[in-house]
Symmetry: C2
Subunit: 282 residues, 2 copies
């Protein structure tokens, strides 16, 4: 997986280096290269790998997903949103630069992710399908809706189902899209199963975030812990405690694994990602 991360990082750098020099280019580079785990692009590329297909041609599409993920983090950290100072152990984009630069850096990433796919060496039909999956997932009925719901429940208690709905859109939509984009170029008939796997992993991932906000180490996490409690935010942990939350995380990973076994692919590549996610401490 390390090789994959290196290839993703090097392609992301190439993409950004093509922009005209400006402070916003620097801010984009700073946030893109701040040590993200690259989970979403890895998922897309390992899905392709699991069919025995060479993933190198699809690095561009995978980078587009990471660009959208990074834009969402930059805007999410802004003073007008979560007002966070630290991300991955480094100053957030608006802290390192300034607010205007961070707003434009986020806008730039969301905009340029389109251009990355448009410029890639894919057929026009494939470009359209990739853009459809990606921008549906990141849009007003997808990831952005997740952000809105998250905001709406900042000052009122969310129940279990409401939390799931927030997680489904805020995290699940983009992770699911990454897996679907991988399946699209291999065997589109499997797309719905991959989508389901993506949602299971997305929900598990988000509950882990809630747990890590209580049990995690702020130095390892690279951001402050305890903020959910401080903000009186409803989380899985506040609703059902750490142990029960961890049981649900395990259950989601188990269900994702069972779905995976329905597919005629090299499971071990995806199981490896899930094992890594299960053990994550950041």
């Amino acid at each position: 997986m390390e090789k994959l991360i290196k290839e993703i990082n090097s392609r992301l750098l190439e993409i950004v280096d093509n922009y005209q020099d400006s402070v916003v280019k620097e801010a984009i580079k700073y946030s893109l290269m701040a040590g993200g785990k690259r989970i979403r692009p890895i998922m897309m590329l390992q899905v392709i790998n699991s069919y025995g297909i060479d993933y190198h041609d699809y690095l561009d599409a995978a980078c587009a997903i990471e660009m959208i993920h990074t834009y969402s983090l930059i805007h999410d950290d802004l003073p007008g949103m979560d007002n966070d100072d630290l991300r991955r152990g480094k100053p957030t984009c608006h802290r390192q630069f300034d607010e205007a630069t961070a707003i434009l850096a986020g806008d730039g990433l969301l905009n340029e992710a389109v251009n990355v796919i448009l410029k890639a060496c894919y057929s026009n039909d494939l470009k359209i399908s990739l853009l459809q999956i990606l921008y549906q997932a990141s849009g007003i009925n997808g990831m952005i809706l997740g952000q809105v719901l998250d905001m709406e429940f900042e000052n009122k208690k969310a129940n279990h189902q409401e939390l799931d709905l927030i997680h489904h859109h805020k995290t699940g939509d983009l992770i699911s899209a990454a897996m679907k984009m991988g399946a699209l170029v291999c065997d589109y008939k499997d797309m719905l199963i991959w989508q389901e796997i993506g949602y299971k992993i997305g929900l598990a991932f988000q509950i882990q975030d809630d747990i890590l906000d209580v049990t995690g180490n702020s130095e390892i996490l690279g951001k402050k812990v305890g903020s959910d409690l401080q903000n009186h935010k409803s989380t899985y942990v506040s609703l059902m405690g750490i142990d029960k939350s961890q049981t649900i995380v395990n259950q989601y990973f188990k269900e994702a694994t069972e779905l995976l076994y329905k597919l005629n692919v090299k499971y071990e590549l995806i199981l490896e990602i899930m094992e890594k996610l299960k053990k994550r401490v950041k």
Copy 2:
């Protein structure tokens, strides 16, 4: 032109009404329907009209341009950017709602403009070409670069050439893209001439903005005047005075008209837009 504006408005409303209900949907609707002049979509559709081709099929692409224009205004008005309270005589998006909602509304519009084109009844080849023109123009080497340059020159004097470069990207790129998108569906061989016409009009438009910031009526303009002077911002007016600036505006419109005469189209439709722009007081 009134009929065109009505059709654009009604299509924009249809697009937004399809989103899931949320405060961000309301904010998008509020800003989209706040009485914009619809210059960019009108330009695209009148270029198509000028070839004698029915523009109705292209309303979606025209709306996508307006959505990108509106997102740029919402983000531009944010406290972290220009911190404006009024736009078109109404509270800016973050004033009417809140900052987080305005950030997400802008993100939503930029994201959904892609989906509008993807969902339109065009061939995949046409969708790709339209997206290429639009997202190149609005991106990190286009409109966003214009914003960055504008920021960079907030605290230092810009000369004539530097101002032109800012205007070229900040306003010219998107207006030019609108004309190119119209030409693309009619006669792509004319695209470069339309691009040039777009840049001339864009520069004239932006210098008019500088003039109106000094001579305009804040009630008619729907925003406060005198802000450039207050912010010690370099403008055409501060560099060469009102009369000389007006002469340059007229010269750009004249050059745009001369370019127009090179084309085998119904000029009068485009001349009508230019006449309206020449006389604009808001």
